[in-house]
Amino acid sequence: MRPGILSAHGYDPGPTQRPLLAGALSGVLATIPAIALLYAFGSLQIEAQILGRSEYVTVAAGWVVMAVAGAIYGRAFGRAANDVRGGWLFGMAFGFAIWAAGAVMILPLVSDGRTPAGHSAIGVFLSLVLWGAALGVVHPFVHRPLHERLETAAKRMGSHIGTSRPRR
């Protein structure tokens, strides 16, 4: 078997990158179309009903959760998240995973088995896949201006990079 999934990139994000911040901001931005879709399918109301919260609280909580999820995406995918061509696919896969873990598994567990069905289930699924795709699309562009400048990063890392102190 050949090297692991992200080995070509190196598992570390690049030395000038800020993946957590970029991911969180991208997650927040990607939530806008996702909420629109939830609303259009009537899923927002159903989710709020299942959770026993108002729609506003549900949206606010969703935004926070999606910012955290975006940060996890930025860190987990590291350099790959900056791929303009493939970002949408990585994000969509991540959105699918969030749907499978969150909407399919966790939501029924925390709500005594109550779960969206019919149109609202379609809405939940599509909104998370759309969220992921949007996250993947916007991440490289959100991240670009957040990168540390080459010149300052080179100075910060200095000539000791790659070396270690001798053990005595």
């Binding site: 190196g10 159903i46 779960t115 969206p116 379609i122 080459l150 000539s159 070396t163």
Partner: protein, 585 residues
């Protein structure tokens, strides 16, 4: 970037996989074996109360889109992970969507078809909905999908050697220039990087590898030059695509590179133009063709006439490696495995290099030639005389192309081989040649350049045993020419900064030993594709060896090189490189 992915091919494969699934299961249903109808399941989500005329196109469209997404996922994450036949790779991969479909998607589809908005989930009854016939249908469908995707999605990089018409540079765009003011480089130590530009053929000359295409340099050439400037290199090893430019005898598509060359001329870094990098145009065939030298001489003359401002040239890159991989190891171009073919290729490459140098000198008498060659060393594993002789043979053979180029006598054993293959007269002509004064011996070094000959007579990579200092010293002692470290990198990106500094310390040590050493290179600017397997197969695997990755985001070694250059370029011994000044005078 994880892999270089052929998007169109992957989407086509995914769509074909979805169609194969539908055709297969529809045929089974027609034969009386109904199973799982994914198209109906998807289509009736949108058109629950309508006939097949509406739900079938909708369902099929959704199925094709999902298939394309999975195929792209396969291309990024699974393709070429195992050394299996492509169709089998696809079949195994299909287990992933099959499991997800059975455990998650199918139950969720049942939920989505309900006419209510909330349900109280009963897990047992829910999963019980997946009957054996439907499960069989899911598995058969996914198997058909996987086999089809696997069979279609191969060769994500490169292109058919006879279909290269549409390749080439993107038009110039407005770019933001962030690099500082260009510093005059004349006579200062050369800090260089390069654009990886190999273009050999494989698969019996049917498939063209083109690293500038695979690494998307043709799309990002302006950005690449700007990144090189920002790193602070003074020179850029740059190889215009000979196989695309020199499309027929006497025919050159210079318009392809005019903008790129103009950009380098205006803003730097100063190019070290690499005219032949492991391949020749289709019409020339391969390095067994005696016309190679004449054709490449014509190319070099035309290049030097058009870009008369270019002063630094590498006429032929790594002649030994090119001859070895093409004619002795059977991996590239002619793909032969014989001493005779190796000798032929080596003589043709050396003749080409000589002819090109002479042609360039006719147009630009003060041209400087940097003859990059891979530094090699073979160590016998044991006192077995046969193994020792084999190592000695390899240690003599590594010098053959440079011996020809630099009019140096070959060893007795190599001379016998040259005689046996009817090349003695040619050899004598090389010996009689006067080598141009402004010639620099470029010595490349990678961790696999030092090899052990094991007890079975096979080569094994030895890692960095003696190091560049020792190996380069052997080349210095033989040729006594001004030298430059012209290539190095490290495939383990996390260790690359350490490797960079180790190489740099080797360079400094050799300079202090009195060797006229004028430059140092990290090769290349960006990651490379499939060099970990010597371009042998078109897999599209990214080797993280660049100063920048293929998204053009910096790697740690990029910052380390930047810091190294910044630290040394104004130190007097590097700002005024005596050896280079004497050579350029």
């Amino acid at each position: 970037m994880l892999r270089v992915v052929a998007f169109r091919k992957a989407i086509l494969a995914g769509a074909a996989g979805a169609i194969a699934w539908e055709a297969g299961l529809r045929t089974l249903a027609w034969l009386g074996f109904p199973s799982f109808d994914i198209v109906q399941e998807l289509g009736t989500l949108a058109f629950p109360n309508d006939g097949p005329a509406l739900w079938w196109p909708a369902g099929m469209t959704a199925h094709v889109l999902v298939g394309a997404a999975w195929a792209l996922f396969y291309a990024y994450f699974f393709w070429a992970r195992f050394r299996w036949p492509p169709a089998l790779q696809g079949l195994v991969f299909a287990a992933l969507p099959a499991v997800l479909a059975a455990l998650i998607i199918y139950p969720q589809l049942q939920l989505m078809h309900l006419h209510q908005q909330v349900v109280d989930l009963d897990w047992k009854s829910f999963l019980a909905g997946l009957e054996q016939t439907k499960l069989s249908g899911l598995l058969i469908g996914h198997a058909l999908f996987g086999l089809t995707v696997g069979a279609i999605y191969t060769h994500p990089v490169g292109y058919r050697a006879d279909r290269q018409g549409k390749r080439g540079y993107s038009p110039r765009r407005a770019v933001r220039r962030e690099a500082g003011k260009r510093r005059p480089a004349d006579g200062s130590f050369i800090f260089a990087t390069g654009i990886e530009c190999s273009y050999p053929t494989t698969e019996q000359e049917r498939w063209r590898r083109d690293e500038m295409d695979s690494t998307r340099h043709y799309d990002h050439w302006q950005r690449d030059f700007e990144l090189a400037r920002r790193i602070g290199v003074t020179h850029l090893r740059y190889g215009p695509p000979l196989h695309l430019i020199h499309s027929a005898p006497g025919q050159f598509h210079w318009e392809m590179i005019d903008e790129a060359m103009a950009d380098l001329k205006a803003h730097g870094p100063e190019p070290i133009v690499d005219l032949c990098h492991f391949g020749v145009p289709n019409w020339l065939g391969d390095f067994q063709n005696p016309e190679v030298a004449r054709a490449l001489t014509e190319y070099a003359a035309a290049f030097a006439a058009r870009y008369s401002w270019v002063r630094f040239y590498t006429p032929v890159n790594e002649m030994y490696v090119c001859a070895r991989m093409s004619a002795l190891d059977g991996l590239w171009n002619e793909q032969l495995c014989s001493e005779a073919a190796f000798i032929t290729a080596a003589f043709h490459l050396a003749a080409a290099s000589v002819g090109m140098s002479d042609a360039i000198l006719a147009a630009r008498p003060d041209a400087v030639f940097i003859n990059s060659e891979s530094s090699e060393f073979y160590q016998p594993c044991c006192p077995d005389p046969d193994i020792q002789e084999l190592a000695e043979l390899e240690n003599e053979r590594r010098f053959l192309p440079l011996d020809l180029l630099y009019a140096h006598e070959v060893s007795d054993r190599m001379l016998a081989s040259v005689r046996d293959h009817g090349r003695e007269a040619d050899y004598r002509r090389f010996l009689a040649r006067k080598v141009p004064r402004r010639t620099i011996l470029g010595v490349d070094y990678y961790e696999w350049n030092e090899k052990l000959i094991d007890q079975d007579g096979h080569e094994r990579a030895l890692g960095e045993l003696f190091g560049w200092y020792v190996i380069a010293s052997q080349y210095w002692e033989r040729y006594q020419r001004t030298m430059m470290h012209t290539e190095t990198n490290r495939i383990d990106a996390s260790d690359a900064p350490r490797w960079l500094w180790r190489q740099w310390h080797n360079v400094q040590l050799l300079r202090r030993a009195g060797v006229p050493l004028v430059g140092f290179t990290w090769y290349s600017l960006t990651d490379q594709v499939d060099w970990g397997i010597a371009l042998e197969e078109a897999l599209g695997r990214v080797d993280p060896v660049g100063l920048f990755d293929l998204n053009r985001d910096p790697r740690a070694v990029g910052l380390a090189f930047m810091d190294l250059i910044d630290m040394h370029r104004d130190v007097p011994e590097f700002r005024d490189c005596t050896a280079l000044k004497e050579l350029l005078a």
